[in-house]
């Protein structure tokens, strides 16, 4: 795999160095693996700390700023960050009103964030953790707490960030974050594998005429390998599963994310989105807001994921609240 890098063992650190140079007006680095809002710490605001392995940009790194996260902590490619980076981030953004950790539900992330949370609690800082488990392909509904976190991270971080920006209490920020998490689902498909720079090998192999249904964000095995389908057929399989999972009915309202995994073009993503809208509209399900683009990538993996967030008045209002970060910006609209 061709990659425009230097030392494969330094990709994370060099990526962060370059990233902070691009947005000096918005963010600042703390050490080597943490970025925080320029104005951090913000007094009397619940601090939102997000993070996980690198290699998924813009996920985590790009969503630090007004209306979203106060800090992002990155580990090496596809590997959770060690506790001391999380502690560094927490200390840099703690405004005295408690801290919320939001991350994808992976064993490594759970352990490192839990250890960090215990260390911070030991210093008298209140920490709440929200694990995002939106991937319908990774475990049956009755074992939802074993599911992986995918692009639903965006919904949860956006909504928690908006609530925290209102200077809401730690209890309230946690409540809306969990509500967003519990009302979103994601289903993904992979067309070609990612490569971790340090290992240099693709994480799976797939024939030219095959696609991987339910692929994980690190190229973990999916539900099954199927014959390559068209954009419309693929969208249909993915979105129908989400409709079933969320028990969506006529009159319900949703937000949509069509997420590209790295090397799938925007053109393809828009074609998928076209069909998703046709299906949802056909069922009388209203679409409030649609996000199309690369939000959670997996190196150069090809493929996409579709995420739906079932809305109520509160989630809708929080999602629509303004946000201004290096890679996610939203103007305020109240319809």
């Amino acid at each position: 795999m061709k990659k425009l890098i230097n030392d494969p063992f330094k990709v994370t650190v060099e990526c962060i160095e370059g990233y902070v140079k691009a947005y000096p007006d918005l963010i600042k680095p703390i050490g080597t693996h943490v970025v925080v809002r320029g104005e951090a710490p913000i007094k009397d605001k619940v601090a939102v700390v997000i993070g996980g392995g690198s290699g998924h940009e813009p996920l985590f790194l790009g969503w630090v700023g007004y209306g979203m996260a106060d800090a992002a902590v990155l580990g090496e490619v596809f590997a959770a960050p060690p506790p001391q980076f999380i502690v560094e981030a927490t200390k840099a953004v703690n405004g005295g009103k408690g801290v919320v950790y939001i991350y994808g539900n992976y064993a490594g992330d759970r352990m490192n964030f839990d250890i960090a949370a215990e260390m911070m609690e030991g210093e008298g800082v209140k920490v709440e953790s929200i694990r995002v488990w939106d991937d319908v392909a990774s475990a049956p509904p009755e074992r939802i707490q074993e599911r992986r976190g995918l692009a639903g991270d965006l919904f949860v971080i956006k909504i928690a960030g908006a609530k925290a920006e209102e200077k809401a209490s730690l209890v309230d920020v946690k409540r809306v974050a969990e509500k967003a998490r519990d009302n979103c689902r994601t289903y993904a498909v992979g067309l070609s594998p990612p490569t971790i720079p340090a290992s240099g090998k693709p994480t799976f192999t797939l024939g030219e005429d095959e696609m991987y249904l339910g692929i994980g964000a690190h190229g973990e095995k999916g539900v099954k390998i199927i014959k390559m389908l068209s954009a419309d057929e693929t969208a249909e399989i993915l979105v129908n599963e989400l409709i079933k999972e969320l028990n969506l009915k006529e009159g319900d309202e949703v937000n949509v994310i069509i997420n590209g995994y790295g090397s799938t073009t925007l053109m393809e993503l828009y074609i998928v989105n076209r069909k998703v809208h046709q299906i949802l509209s056909g069922l009388g399900i209203a679409i409030h807001r649609t996000e199309v683009g690369n939000f959670l990538t997996s190196q150069e993996m090809a493929g996409c994921s579709i995420s739906l967030l079932k809305l109520d008045g509160e989630l809708k209002m929080l999602y629509d609240a303004p946000a201004y970060t290096p890679t996610y910006r939203l103007c305020s609209i109240h319809r």
Partner: protein
Amino acid sequence: MRKTLDYNSLRSFLLNFSNAIMEKKDYLTELDAACGDGDFGVNMYLGFKRVYESIEKLNGNDVGNLFEIVGKTILSSVGGASGPVFGILFIEAGKAVKGKNEVTLDELATMFKNALEKIRLRGGAKVGDKTLIDALEPAVNALITASHKKEDIYTALKIAAESARVGSESTKNLVAKQGKARYLGEQSIGHLDPGAEVIRILFEELLVTYQSFCLKNN
């Protein structure tokens, strides 16, 4: 025959173990690539390189402190799931013998027993889940049994190393229930768990160090 493992022999074990992990980088990567995302060997290599550097010039006599340094170095540098798991292993082992400059078999058993319990608590894995627990638990049980039977340390280490080997070997036929390998389901059968292999190597190196260090100096 020696009845204890002293500071110097345990430090030399930790150096040998670090070397063994560094040497087996490609082997561990290969195992991880079969069921995980293939970064285990590299992450462990980088972590144990730091471990080696941090204890190479260490001039102390507190075994507890020695193990805690190893654990904290791993916890702070490896990341992923391996960082906490192997970090906790050495930190908890160290806590059990704080201030001691040599450990008896009974204390050695307690070190690894406490480590096992804390890892279980943190990660939630149990025997049969295709993780390092499959090698660590039988090794710990072997040490405890040997200690109760008042066996000598050498015999105990031989049984522990053999138990870890058999335990690690057993992961080959197991379906992964934890971590990213879990999603493979039945497809994870036929591959050894890399974490269990690290435990096998650990008890192997402990035995080898005892043989070369303690038997020779007796």
